[in-house]
């Protein structure tokens, strides 16, 4: 390959642009956040997974709700075939509920509670006539009549 007219200028432009691009990319990576992440990691590293999850971004939209879900999960009666969570519906709640109870199928506020499923009621209101299964943090486990 031979040197053509303008190759020197191309080379200089490439070096200048590459340096500028690299500086932009490094700055966009928000290096100032690094110590905070390291502190977060150090703080939670010795805790159980559920506590680490409770302190993480995934539960930031409603940490009490996450605590309720974990409490409900631990108190599910044996043989439960699915969980219907009655809580304010949102995409985040739907996804966290589906993941938290997996492998059990779990839905937020389904129109009916299928047979063998347990309802996890978030908040103080209890549906009339439903059977109480267990109290959980910020809610209760119940089954419909």
């Amino acid at each position: 390959m031979t040197e053509r007219n303008g190759d020197g200028a191309r080379r200089k432009a490439a070096i200048a642009c590459a340096a500028a691009l690299l500086a932009l990319l490094v700055a966009a990576g928000r290096p100032e956040k690094l110590p905070g992440r390291a502190r977060l990691l150090r703080h939670y590293a010795t805790r159980p997974l559920a506590v680490r999850r409770l302190g993480s971004s995934s539960s930031a939209f409603d940490r009490r709700f996450f605590f309720f879900l974990e409490s409900a999960r631990l108190k599910l009666p044996p043989g439960t075939r699915g969980v219907a969570v009655f809580a304010p519906p949102s995409e985040q709640a739907r996804n966290v509920v589906a993941y938290q109870f997996a492998p059990l199928p779990a839905l937020v506020a389904p129109p009916t509670v299928p047979g063998g499923w347990v309802a996890a009621i978030y908040g103080p209101v209890r549906p009339a006539g439903w059977r109480h299964v267990a109290d959980v943090s910020d809610g209760a486990l119940m089954t419909p009549p």
């Binding site: 390959m1 031979t2 040197e3 053509r4 190759d7 020197g8 191309r10 080379r11 432009a13 490439a14 642009c17 590459a18 500028a20 691009l21 690299l22 932009l24 990319l25 490094v26 966009a28 990576g29 928000r30 290096p31 690094l34 992440r37 390291a38 977060l40 990691l41 939670y44 590293a45 010795t46 805790r47 159980p48 997974l49 680490r52 999850r53 302190g55 993480s56 971004s57 995934s58 995409e91 985040q92 739907r94 996804n95 966290v96 589906a98 993941y99 997996a102 492998p103 199928p105 839905l107 389904p110």
Partner: protein
């Protein structure tokens, strides 16, 4: 300290990943020529994770008592095949590093790449995997597979679980489930360790491929530094999702495609076959880009200079990609892709929707990033046309052009797809396009008649 603290889980996960990586590297003796250490490391990770995922899927299908048996058996077979079909030395020969001032620049760029890797590791490992789509799609499926030691059909047939995108490939959930099966527990914080490994493997393949194709160490290290610091892809909100693995798979696909078309070495078509399987098994976009690669090969088979090479490469690409897609359909059925409806192609307002999509792309993604995009364009134009670089550029460019157009087909409106998906899709093309730009820059002569690539000291 709690019995299930992060440290122990991380060590255990690291041991599983390292074992898979080592098995993959052993298999790579049949894929990457001897002496190409960086590429063997990168491809070894691809092969190792593929072994874990495919072995776990096979164990579920065969209803083996312990799903961990699948990856172990497959690793043994892959290592045996690697030994049996081991490649010799690379025909390119030995690559010398730079001397003097350039060596210092290369070392500085390598330090920047290492910094990017460390920052990403800190982002990824700071907390348990948490993105919304991780919960809804990748994590939920993986956690269910692990707990049930099977792929339960209800996840894919139940209308209430439509939000989990039943049509998405299962490579990533099977990989997560495979690691959990070997560990014997679900630890979705330690699983984040995979993500900096994906970046490390991406950098290894990028650097190794550029060097093998004649790029000087400075150019190859600069490309690696840029990719390692590319925060839109290696971001905390994408950790747990398929973008970083897809970006790796697309780089594998592009580099192997260029090598197979040039028949650089006897392992090129084998690499292409593995890359096609990994891309198709990771995300629908991977299958789609493999389709673009197949079209490029088809065009080369009809009008290219080496038509026979293109035909052989097409076969190596298409068979594993189609097999992957068919296996998915056989296992869990066929499902429409959410967010895209091809019926919109026939609508009279398609032009208006496309204009809306382009406006939204500009507003949401491009306007705020015009400066780095302009820098990339200058770098692209500053380089010289070189066949292997142009192939990568064509593959990535056609992918990007399609991502620009697809929002026009979104039933929820173009803005929806632009906001939630398009930026991630663009970002996952970054390593592939970085390789293309670097290959073109490496073709610039460096004073006199010597091309930049000559400074690499290629000895044949």
């Amino acid at each position: 300290m709690s019995a299930d603290a992060l440290g122990g889980a991380l060590l255990a996960t690291a041991a599983v990943v390292a074992a898979a990586w080592a098995a993959g590297a052993a298999a790579c003796a049949a894929l990457v020529p001897r002496g190409r250490r960086a590429e063997r490391i990168g491809w070894g990770f691809a092969a190792g994770t593929a072994i874990l995922a495919a072995g776990t899927g096979a164990a579920y299908s065969a209803a083996l008592g312990s799903p961990a048996i699948g990856p172990i058996l497959l690793a043994a077979v892959a290592a045996g095949l690697g030994r049996r079909f081991a490649l010799g030395d690379d025909p390119v020969g030995t690559l010398r590093g730079p001397g003097g001032r350039l060596a210092a620049v290369t070392a500085a760029l390598a330090a920047v790449a290492l910094y990017g890797l460390i920052v990403y590791a800190a982002r990824a490992l700071a907390e348990p995997l948490w993105p919304n789509d991780y919960f809804a799609i990748w994590g939920m499926k993986a956690k269910t597979f692990f707990a049930e030691r099977a792929i339960p059909l209800r996840l894919f047939t139940w209308p209430s679980f439509e939000f989990s995108n039943p049509g998405y490939p299962l490579g990533l959930p099977l990989l997560y489930a495979g690691i959990a099966s070997i560990l014997g527990r679900w630890e979705d914080h330690a699983l984040a360790l995979l993500f900096p490994c994906w970046l490390a493997a991406t950098l290894a393949v990028l650097y190794g491929w550029l060097r093998r194709r004649g790029a000087p160490p400075t150019v190859a290290a600069a490309a690696g530094a840029a990719v390692a610091c590319f925060a839109p892809l290696y971001a905390a909100p994408l950790t747990g999702m398929a973008e970083a693995p897809l970006a790796f798979a697309l780089l594998l696909l592009g580099t192997a495609l260029a090598d197979a078309m040039d028949e650089t070495d006897p392992g090129a078509r084998r690499r292409l076959a593995l890359a096609a399987a990994v891309a198709a098994g990771t995300k629908n976009e991977g299958l789609f880009v493999a389709g673009i690669a197949a079209l490029l090969l088809a065009a080369a088979a009809f009008v290219g200079r080496d038509r026979a090479a293109a035909r052989r490469a097409a076969l190596a690409l298409i068979v594993p990609a189609v097999a992957c897609a068919l296996l998915h359909r056989l296992a869990v059925g066929s499902h429409p892709v959410r967010g895209i409806d091809l019926a919109y192609l026939k609508r009279p307002d398609l032009g208006d929707r496309l204009a809306e999509a382009l406006r939204a792309t500009w507003t949401v993604h491009l306007r705020s990033s015009w400066l780095p995009i302009a820098a990339c364009l200058v770098l692209l134009l500053a380089g010289r046309s070189v066949a292997h670089g142009n192939r990568l550029l064509l593959l990535g460019g056609l992918g990007a052009a399609t991502y620009l157009f697809l929002p026009a087909l979104c039933p929820y409106g173009p803005l929806w797809l632009v906001t939630w998906t398009q930026g991630r899709n663009f970002a996952s093309l970054a390593p592939l396009l970085a390789a293309a730009v670097a290959a073109r820059l490496a073709a610039l002569p460096r004073g006199g008649a010597a091309p930049l690539s000559a400074t690499a000291g290629v000895v044949t």
